[in-house]
Amino acid sequence: MIPNILGWLFDPAHWSGSDGIASRIVEHLWYSALAMVLACLIAIPAGLAIGHTGRGRFLAVNLAGAARAIPSLGLLYLMVLWLFPKLAGDSAFLVPAIIVLVVLAIPPIMAGAYSGVEGVDPGARDAAKGMGMTGMQVLRQVEVPCALPLIFSGVRSAILQVIATATLAAVAGTGGLGRFIIDGQKVHEFAQMASGAILVAVLALVIDLLMSLVQRSVVSPGLGAGPATSGRAGRRSRTAPSGNTPVDVEIDSSGRTVDAPAR
């Protein structure tokens, strides 16, 4: 079985052409990037605003919880069914898919942004104000840099969801690596299905690895990286996530959203 899969995967004929592996990878990346950019544009400012002002948190937490319960595949079918007749050409498949991806990506990114800002040491925030920083300066110079680990955690978890769901979008007629799984199934060609699965898994791993490298170069080493000599620093490094489990979990497990009363 495995030689079969590898044979299909490394057959040069399967890599070229408009329905070849190379162009499917580009498509997959394009959908994911487009959705992520749109989601970040919406979710990061919103999350920062919630974290900075403390307003709207209750709503955000519950929306995020509800969004997680909605099955993405069902949402995808629903969107295509509803929007397909209203659109023309390629966009008839693409627009509903992108909408679903954006909707899925917003909650984790927003949760990362607001919990990151909320988690900033109140002393640091107080000192920043006391030294004469304006609200914007506090946000830009203190809150955002300190929130970066959690913002990254949210973005990375969103990227993984987007890459996974972009695979599903193939059932609704879009391109991307999911095509190999869907098309392979139609012709009962397991090698093709498995190749698609391997490609999308590797793509997710590589993107996540790249993101972790970006994170390492962007986030200040002062945030939880150094040896924790003081108790406060130790606590901070515990809440700063290092892996790629979703940001929602980080927050839930520290008991801040699930059934803690809203502030």
Binding site: I181, Q185, A201, P246
Partner: protein, 215 residues
């Protein structure tokens, strides 16, 4: 609505199938995550490989994982086992970390006094550490439950019966009713799972409600 009433039996069958596909991995995952999380806490060098290793599983898209299962464990492509094993792995990815976090959050003073009173390590784990970690573990379990219900519907694509089949039914016939019944069914099932875990947690941690504290 009439479609729903006409197909009540089918909806019920698929709900049970869905609950089985999403729920069994939750139970297996929790039972495996407890010792693994304990190991990660107990033996420092194991912490990073265990947490990072299971975290890595989470990067693999669900459809890819289901499709690759037959190549790894030798099942048929349409076997429900693929979904159960896949979801168990996701549950582990979430819970090993949560269990380790939860055990780590037990106050050192409590652990030390338990040891000083003569608890053996194993007895202390079950009598002190584990109960105190329940609130944190339960929070992780609720996340896993809700996401399992959503991910289980992806098994539609490889043809395994559960609520997700209503999505493709409705889609291929250009008919909203089954599609909406499927989505609502998933959400309701997720809420039921969440509620059950919440009730169990309350039963196991009477001190949380009594004092309003979490640990």
């Amino acid at each position: 609505m009439t479609w729903f009433i006409d197909h009540l039996d089918l909806v019920w069958t698929r709900t049970l199938q869905h609950a089985y596909l999403a729920g069994l991995p939750l139970v297996i995952g929790l039972l495996l995550a407890l010792p693994l999380g304990w190991l990660a806490r107990r033996y420092r060098p194991l912490f990073v490989p265990l947490i990072a290793g299971f975290g890595l599983l989470y990067t693999i898209p669900s459809l890819a994982l289901f499709v690759l299962m037959p190549a790894i464990i030798g099942t048929q492509i349409i076997s429900p086992t693929n979904v159960i094993v896949g979801l168990t792995l996701y549950t582990l990815a979430l819970l090993v970390r949560t269990v380790a976090d939860g055990l780590g959050a037990v106050p050192e003073s409590v652990k030390q006094s338990a040891t000083a009173m003569g608890y053996t390590p194993v007895k202390r784990f079950f009598a002190v550490d584990l109960p105190l970690a329940v609130p944190v573990i339960s929070a992780g379990l609720r996340v896993a439950a809700v996401s399992n219900v959503s991910i289980a519907s992806v098994a539609t694509i490889i043809g395994i019966p559960q609520l997700g089949l209503f999505f493709s039914d409705g889609f291929s016939r250009d008919f909203y009713d089954p599609l909406i019944v499927g989505i609502v069914g998933c959400v309701v099932l997720a809420l039921v799972f969440d509620g059950v875990i919440l009730l169990l947690t309350r039963a196991f941690t009477p001190w949380v409600r009594a004092t309003g504290s979490r640990a």
